[in-house]
Symmetry: C2
Subunit: 178 residues, 2 copies
C-alpha cells in the first residue's frame, strides 16, 4: 500500500501497517506462508489482478519480507520465498485467523490449528515467559518503551490523565501524527 506517512511514525503498529496495511499484502503473505511460491498460484488463490500482484510483490520485496529466487535457468523461472522478516509475520496471520474464525464463521471453523508433525489439534494460550502463567489480553498493556519518542510518551500521559478522570483536557500531540 505504501501508505507513506505511516512508515515514518514512531508507533510500531503503524510502522507495521506501513508495510502490510492493505489486504492484498496480507493475502499474499497468507499464501506464501501456507506454501505457495509462484506468481500464478498467488493470482488464482487470492483472486488478485496480475498488475496489482506484481506491484505488491515488488513492495514486499522492497520491504524485505520476500525474496525472489531463481529456480530454473532455462527458461528462467522464479519463485518467491519468505525472509526471516516475512516468516515472523506468522503470529499476525494466526491472530487474524483466530479472530476471523471466532467472529465471522457462523458455520464453524474453516481452518484449524494443528501441530504439524502429529496433526494433533492445538489450542494455544499466551503465557508470561517468566512465570508460565496464562496472560489474558485484559491483563497487559502496551506502554512507552525505552526508546519511546515524545509523541508516544505524550499519548500515554494523556491517556493516563483521561483514565484518571481529569477533564476536560485536549489531545494535542507534540507533532501532528503518530
Amino acid at each position: 500500500m505504501k501508505n507513506t506517512p505511516l512508515y515514518e511514525t514512531s508507533c510500531p503498529i503503524a510502522r507495521s501497517l506501513g508495510r502490510i496495511g492493505d489486504s492484498w499484502s496480507v493475502m499474499i503473505l497468507r499464501d506464501i506462508t501456507a506454501g505457495f511460491t509462484r506468481f500464478d498460484e498467488f493470482q488464482k488463490s487470492c483472486g488478485i489482478a496480475p498488475n496489482i500482484l506484481s506491484r505488491r510483490l515488488k513492495d514486499l520485496i522492497d520491504d524485505g519480507l520476500l525474496e525472489k529466487v531463481k529456480y530454473s535457468l532455462s527458461p528462467p523461472r522464479y519463485e518467491y520465498q519468505l525472509t526471516q522478516k516475512g516468516k515472523d509475520f506468522r503470529p499476525v496471520l494466526l491472530a487474524l485467523a483466530v479472530w476471523g474464525t471466532k467472529h465471522f464463521s457462523p458455520e464453524g471453523p474453516q481452518l484449524q490449528l494443528v501441530e504439524t508433525e502429529t496433526h494433533r489439534p492445538l489450542r494455544t494460550a499466551m503465557v508470561d515467559a517468566a512465570t508460565g502463567e496464562v496472560v489474558v489480553p485484559e491483563a497487559y498493556s502496551l506502554v512507552p518503551g525505552p526508546a519511546a519518542d515524545p509523541i508516544i510518551r505524550y499519548r500515554h500521559a494523556y491517556l493516563r490523565q483521561k483514565k484518571a478522570g481529569v477533564e476536560p483536557l485536549k489531545f494535542t500531540p507534540p507533532e501532528k501524527q503518530g
Copy 2:
C-alpha cells in the same frame, strides 16, 4: 475498506481482512483499545482526515466492532466503545506491535508490553493449552477445519501435493477465489 469480495470468501483470514483490511481501521482500533474514545482524539492521534474517519467509524460500527454511546444529553455527545468483537481484536494488535518492534524499530522499543497492574515488563510465549509446552510458529499449521468448504480443502490438497514434490500440477480451485 469494504473490500467486498473478501467478505464472502471462506478463509477466516480473508474474512477478517474484509473488515479491517485497511490501515485506518486498524489504527482506529489501536487507539480505541489504548483508551481513546472520541472523534477528535482519533483524528489527531491517527492523523486521519475527518471524512475518512467518519466513514471508517461507520464501517466499524456496521461490522459490530464498535458502538456509539451517548454520554451527554445537551449538547448531545457521543463516544465510541469496543464491543466484544472489537476487544477480541487485541491479539492482532499485539502481534503487529511485536512484529513492528522487532523489524522496524532500529532505535529500540517504542512500546513495551507490561502487566497492567504491576507495570512489570512481560515477555510472552505461546503454549499448547493442553500440555503447557511452548509452541514455536514453525511447529503448527493451519489445516482445513470441520466446516471447511471445497475451496479450502482443494487448496490444502494442492499444497500437500506440491510439498510432496508432485510436479507439474496446476492450481485451479473449484471456484475463482478464496
